[in-house]
């Protein structure tokens, strides 16, 4: 009995060390970003309805209940940046940047950054700005630049879906498999979203790009 209990404790400890912050896609993935405006939930990259364009979606500040969404806001000290490698070395050749100021999201790029890596500055001039769509607005506010880049910023339904609770139960040794049907732990929750649709010709691509999304905090 005692031995069995010890084995269970060891199993749970191992599971916790692997899955202690195993909360979802990238939602609340690490201690330093938990409940911060820098917390990324997901990155999406897909063809636009016009397949000459590629769409980049940055979702942040996940698991917002509807009652918390009106008060959720973008942070003027958080830089949201899409990093694009177009020559296969996994170093950014282009960046698309979004930063909030005075009710608007300002966009920069796609532009070759003057520095690469974990420390960034705003690159070049603002290419366009869009008013952040208010919670409860009838339709999303969008803006299209002269070069055909479309931008949006505001609260949206979290498009991510996963039976997270059952996964936790499995990792914790309390269940041996998923249920059918499963239960989407992200149903009814919102994220703060930035969406940019870019003509592919602006990406200098030979067919394949590598993309990663970063959030960066203004140095104090």
């Amino acid at each position: 009995m005692k031995q069995k209990k010890l084995a269970l404790i060891v199993l749970v400890a191992v599971a916790t060390s692997i899955g202690g912050f195993l909360l979802a896609s990238d939602h609340i993935d690490a201690p330093a970003v938990k409940n911060q405006t820098t917390d990324i939930t997901d990155l999406y990259v897909f063809n636009g309805s016009d397949t000459n364009n590629l769409v980049f979606v940055a979702n942040t500040q996940g698991l917002l209940a509807p009652s918390a969404t009106a008060a959720a806001a973008f942070d003027p000290n958080t830089l949201i940046q899409f990093n694009i490698d177009n020559n296969g070395d996994n170093v950014e050749d282009l960046v698309i940047q979004a930063i909030y100021a005075d009710g608007k999201m300002n966009f920069y790029g796609p532009v070759k950054p003057s520095t690469t890596g974990i420390r960034s500055k705003l690159e070049g001039d603002i290419i366009g700005s869009v008013a952040v769509t208010a919670y409860g607005a009838g339709s999303p506010v969008t803006y299209t630049t002269g070069s055909g880049i479309m931008v949006f910023a505001g609260p949206r339904d979290d498009p991510f879906f996963f039976d997270l609770d059952q996964y936790h139960a499995i990792i914790a040794g309390k269940a041996t498999g998923f249920n059918n049907p499963g239960k989407d732990a992200f149903a009814g929750t919102n994220v703060m979203s930035v969406v940019v649709e870019v003509p592919k010709k602006l990406l200098n691509s030979t067919g394949k790009i590598n993309v990663w999304l970063t959030t960066k905090k203004k140095e104090s």
Partner: protein, 180 residues
């Protein structure tokens, strides 16, 4: 005498005016330099759930502030340990990747995307050519983790049986559904 004073007055006035203009010109052309504002990395994601699933708790913050090109040398061992802990029976997966090969793909956490074809995380034909809003990335990852060489192993672990979002996406920009 009076004339002399007048000339002097004019000369002083001109000098003063020039001085004022000089000063204002100086201010316009040489403003005190605005310091460049820098931003330091806090969070990062390429493919879904890599940090959450494969990186041990002690490394999660560090993973978020490591550039993708630097990740393999730092995180490969931890990620392989996590893979073999989650699925001690791992041999190869549906993509034919051994544990080392699978981790070598995952350890550089970037989302690969095609700029010429269909964009999909995995649709049976396209593998890692993007990620659409409706892609069931969790089932793909569970299958690659637990499903064995043909995806049929551990059937209770290869799908969470949540197959789509709880709201319909828009067909045009910005594509995501309105908030709840």
């Amino acid at each position: 005498m009076e004339k002399h004073y007048t000339v002097k007055f004019i000369a002083v006035s001109v000098l003063l005016t020039l001085g004022v203009i000089g000063c204002s010109k100086n201010n316009n052309h040489n403003p005190s330099p605005t310091p460049t504002i820098y931003y330091d990395q806090a969070d990062q994601v390429g493919r879904p759930a890599i940090n959450t699933v494969f990186i041990p708790a002690s490394g999660k913050d560090s993973f978020n502030t490591t550039s993708p090109s630097q990740m393999p040398s730092i995180f490969t061992n931890d990620m392989k340990t996590s893979l073999m802990s989650l699925n001690p029976g791992y041999t190869t997966n549906l993509l034919g990747l051994t544990a080392d090969q699978f981790i070598s793909v995952l350890s550089t956490d970037v989302l690969n995307a095609s700029t010429t074809g269909v964009t999909s995380f995995y649709n049976g034909t396209q593998v890692l050519t993007g990620r659409t809003l409706s892609d069931d990335v969790i089932d793909v990852e569970l299958t690659l983790l637990f499903g064995g060489p043909d995806g049929s192993a551990n059937p209770g672990l290869t799908s969470d049986h949540v197959n789509g979002n709880d709201k319909t996406f828009l067909t045009s920009f910005p594509y995501e559904a309105s908030p709840w």
